[in-house]
Symmetry: C2
């Protein structure tokens, strides 16, 4: 059971933007800080911009910044839009479902309840919870270390 | 966010065995009932047998049967052994993890808490909860329908 790289990179980008709110951030900078694909980060930034989490300022001196404060961005909300779907098993997908017992099977309901518990837990945390003063400092230290290598 | 086919088919096989406890069941029969791969079902049965959920009786008149009652098999317990891993994002995997902020990042803890809530919900349900008297009858009806096609 995994989340997609799109979700993983989205959360990392949002964390980076949370501790660099003083200005605009480039995907090159974030890509270098984490050692992850710049192309993927560009697509991630577009998804986050489309859904009102970040603003992308175009142009030579452009970049990305948070569109809301870290306290206003819950982890559950992010994951809901960055995951392709939550089709835990075949019968969640109306187009793919051929299981003959679907109409009378309760499995889907139990799995849905578990999925709701998963997301509800993450609704209780925001980007702010990830970025305490202590972690902010250490985050910067690690990122600087990586950038200076 | 998906579960693997191995989990999906494991739960389906266990449900089939729950409503056919009077005798042994063949993978050919289950494969035909659900319209799913027999080869995959054989591997699923081996996983379930290795972990004490089912017994495989070899030979011409052999087959598969539950090793415990449906009430003794929780959905959470099954999923814990049928999923390859629960590495929601990169930093869950010690061998793959290269994210520079892992030592000070709380994301993993929050995701782990969400994952625990997911599994705890499924720990609260057993195969028995999937197989009420009403659903048993309808299950058989659907399976017979498919087998007679």
């Amino acid at each position: 059971m995994h989340l997609t790289y799109h979700t993983d990179y989205s959360l990392r980008l949002l964390m980076y933007l949370s501790v660099h709110q003083e200005g605009l951030v480039s995907t090159t900078e974030v890509s270098s800080a984490y050692g992850i694909s710049k192309n993927h980060l560009v697509r991630v930034a577009q998804t986050l911009a489309r859904n009102g989490f970040v603003k992308i300022i175009p142009g030579r001196y452009g970049g990305i910044k948070l569109a809301r404060t870290p306290k206003e961005i819950s982890l559950g909300e992010v994951i809901r839009i960055t995951e392709v779907d939550f089709h835990l098993v075949e019968c969640f997908d109306k187009n793919q479902n051929v299981c003959p017992i679907t109409p009378i099977c309760s499995l889907k309901n139990f799995l849905q309840e578990a999925m709701d518990a998963f997301l509800k837990t993450l609704d209780g945390y925001t980007l702010m919870d990830l970025m305490t003063d202590e972690t902010k400092n250490t985050f910067n230290q690690y990122v600087n270390f990586r950038q200076n290598k």
